[in-house]
């Protein structure tokens, strides 16, 4: 599974490169608009090891941001289930927070948190958390009547139990969504680095764009793709293992 994701990514990347070269040919664009393969290769040789370190740095932050986002989304989705006024308010706040493009909120974050790891983490988590929240709200809001009936009837239903039942019944969906959102954690971190400009592959990307160096951009995108695929593959493995643990092996299903 792990190498599969990687080689699939490489195929797609190469296809995209091919597409760019084709556009270049068709429109007779010069090397400074779309770099030539030789140019790309030289650039790759020059910056690869440095960008590798940057990408690793970014990955580390993305992982922590992802965890943060999962916690945040879970908490908000659970609180948002409350039917009282506070719950509604929190839900509205959560939705509205998302409505603000990070580009508008980032300056405020940088002023309040400085330009260290904290801002990077927060932005990564913010970008990643909302899609999680959406799915979580969808899952946590739908009753599993056949299981919940007993607990409701006997007055045993607590919100913790309700959440547990719904999460467990939808574990496959939860795992898919959580693993899939890894991509967004990467994006979030890169965007934070892009704007906060302190470290990581997002920072390198910013400089490459500032210098109008598409070859560097393409190398950076390659590394981002590889690391995202790796992280995704890892999470999917964990997901498979987890589901194996949750749902005991059965002899087929009916």
């Amino acid at each position: 599974m792990l190498p599969k994701r990687i080689y699939q990514f490489v195929i797609i990347y190469l296809a995209a490169l091919g597409g760019l070269q084709a556009i270049k040919l068709v429109f007779a664009l010069s090397d400074y608009v779309i770099p030539s393969p030789a140019d790309l290769w030289q650039t790759a040789e020059a910056v690869f090891s440095r960008y590798l370190g940057d990408a690793l740095n970014t990955l580390a932050v993305a992982i922590v941001g992802h965890l943060l986002a999962i916690v945040l989304a879970t908490v908000v989705a659970i609180i948002g289930r409350l039917t009282n006024w506070a719950g509604a308010l929190i839900k509205v706040a959560a939705y509205n927070l998302q409505a603000y493009p990070i580009v508008a909120v980032a300056p405020i974050i940088f002023i309040l948190l400085g330009d260290g790891l904290a801002s990077r983490l927060l932005i990564a988590a913010m970008i990643c958390y909302f899609p999680l929240l959406l799915s979580f709200i969808g899952i946590f809001a739908e009753p599993v009547v056949d299981i919940e009936h007993f607990y409701t009837m006997t007055g045993r239903m607590r919100w913790q139990l309700e959440v547990k039942i719904r999460a467990f019944e939808n574990n496959a969906k939860l795992i898919t969504v959580t693993a899939g959102s890894a991509t967004l954690a990467m994006v979030g971190t890169i965007v934070a680095e892009f704007f906060g400009a302190n470290a990581g592959i997002g920072y390198s990307l910013r400089i490459a764009l500032y210098q109008s160096d598409l070859a560097k951009v393409l190398v950076a995108l390659f590394l981002i793709g590889i690391f995202t695929s790796l992280y995704l593959a890892l999470l999917e493995r964990i997901g498979v293992w987890l589901q194996h643990k949750l749902v005991l092996p059965t002899g087929g299903t009916l």
Binding site: D146, I147, H149, F150, M153, T154, R156, K164, I165, F168, E169, L246, V247, L248, T250
Partner: protein, 230 residues
Amino acid sequence: MLIDCRNIRYRYPNAEAAVFADLSFCLRGPGFHALFGPSGVGKTTLARMIAGNGPRYEGRIETPGVARTLYSYNLERLPGWSCVGDHIAKVTPPSRRERMADLIGSFGLEGCIDARFSQLSLGQKNRANLTRYLVQDFDLLIMDESLANVDETTREKILLKIKGMFPDKGFLYISHNVSEVAKFCREVVVLRNTAKQPQAVSIAGLDLAPDQPLDKSRLERAMLEIVHAA
């Protein structure tokens, strides 16, 4: 008095015909009673109304002396994160632990307590679900086809066990097995379609107790009466 239904009228929204048109009946005293009738006549609907989580209806249902009604049905599931035994133990008050073990034994569930609910056969699921209701506080327990997928031998054992264990509680047992309701129930409320009046008739069953010999001819008479009424 256990259940007193007066002039119940109800039609499902969008449905053409009413389920209940002036339904009245009453069930007296504790004991093992049945709600019987052809498929689709309204047993589940009525049971839910009695338990207080059915749709809004016209008329009155009163359950004097019944502080706590529980409604169980055959499609219920136990959560999947731990084994069946743990789930049942978790909802059993400490004082009823012994009773729980007794029930698991007599219901033939010993082999199932370490399994997840999804790994049980249908009949095992029925029994596991019923067990957890029987260790709750209740005055009236409605069993809506709660044993539908259990074999007859086991089912008889279970019914006798329940009757022996809870002589003072009220039960409303919904089943499609005529001989069973005739044999074990005190009163059998037969629900009939709205064309017939009255919509419900009460027929006395044999109310067989554990170790009590079976009077076959009485049973046959009761069965006939029930079938005729339905």
